[in-house]
Symmetry: C2
Subunit: 169 residues, 2 copies
C-alpha cells in the first residue's frame, strides 16, 4: 500500500550519474524518430529488452499494447514531435487473452449496477489470438488516414517465458 515510498530511494540511485551520462540535455523529440507501442504488463521492460536508451523513442504502454488505444499519442508523436516509424509489441501470456469485453463489463456491472450505461460504453479491447491481433493492430495503423507515415510499421511478439522478441509482420 505504500510502494510509492520506494520510488524516492530508487530515484536517488538513478540520479547519481545523471550528469555524467549527459541525460539532462536531451532534446524533446525522440532521437531515433520511433514509437514503440507495448503492453503495461509488469514482466516487460521495453528499454532493457529492446536497447532503448533515454532520448531514443516514444514508448506508449496500455493494456494489451493496443494500437487503437494509442492513437491520440501516436498522432501527437508524429505530427508534433517528428516520429516516422512505429513498432507494435504484444506478448505471450497476456491478460488480454483471458477474458472478453462482455465478461469484464458484467463483472463491473455486478459491482456497480448504477453505472451500467457508462460501463457498456467502455471497449476493453480484449483479443483471443496473439499473432492475429498484432497483425490487426498493424493493419489498423497502416490504413489510418491521419498518420504521417503508414509504411514503416512493424508488429512483434515478446515471449515472457524467454525474453525473446520475434517479428510477426
Amino acid at each position: 500500500m505504500s510502494v510509492h515510498k520506494s520510488f524516492a530511494g530508487a530515484n536517488d540511485e538513478y540520479v547519481k550519474d545523471f550528469n555524467e551520462r549527459k541525460l539532462g540535455g536531451l532534446a524533446l523529440p525522440p532521437g531515433k524518430k520511433v514509437v514503440v507501442v507495448t503492453c503495461m504488463d509488469a514482466r516487460l521492460d521495453p528499454a532493457a529488452s529492446l536497447g532503448i536508451r533515454e532520448g531514443d523513442a516514444h514508448v506508449i504502454r496500455n493494456a494489451g499494447g493496443r494500437a487503437p488505444d494509442a492513437l491520440r499519442s501516436i498522432l501527437i508523436s508524429q505530427h508534433l514531435l517528428g516520429t516516422t516509424e512505429i513498432a507494435v509489441f504484444h506478448h505471450t501470456d497476456c491478460g488480454m487473452l483471458t477474458f472478453t469485453t462482455d465478461q469484464l463489463q458484467s463483472i463491473l456491472k455486478d459491482k456497480h449496477p448504477e453505472h451500467a450505461k457508462e460501463i457498456n460504453e467502455i471497449d476493453f479491447l480484449a483479443f483471443p489470438q496473439l499473432d492475429e491481433n498484432v497483425k490487426e493492430d498493424v493493419a489498423f495503423l497502416k490504413n489510418h488516414p491521419l498518420l504521417v507515415d503508414n509504411e514503416h510499421i512493424t508488429g512483434w511478439v515478446y515471449e515472457v517465458e524467454t525474453g525473446k522478441v520475434r517479428q510477426v509482420v
Copy 2:
C-alpha cells in the same frame, strides 16, 4: 527508418542472463500491486528512474501521462489483476504544455480537410500547467466510481533536467 532492426540485436543481449535472473517464471499479476501512469516522452525510463524491476508494476504510458486516457487499462489492472495503488507521473518540458487541442486539430484539419469531423472528436488532452494537471489527474482517479481503491493514489513530477522526482500530491 529501420530502427526496429536494432531491436533484435539488443534483445540478444537482454536474454543472455534471463534464466539466471529467473525472469521466465514471473507471475502475470504485478508483485507490488501498483500501477505507474507516466508520459511516452523519450527521455523517461520509468523502470530505471523508479527502481521498477520486471514483475513489479503495471506501467501505462501515453502522451502526457494522462489518467483519463489510462482508464481502460487501470480498470483491467485493478479488477482482473489485483492492483490497488496508482502513481501518476507527469514531467517538466512536456510536449503537452506546448500546444492546445484546438491547435493540433487545426494542423490536422489543414492536412486532411476531408476528415474534419473525426479530427474534431479527438481530445488531445493537452494541459497548460504541470503541477496543476498532476493534481487534476489524481482527483479524476480519486473521484472515479469504478476504481477498486480510490485512496492509494499519488501524483508526481519527474524533472527531465535532473532526473529527480518530487511528489506533488
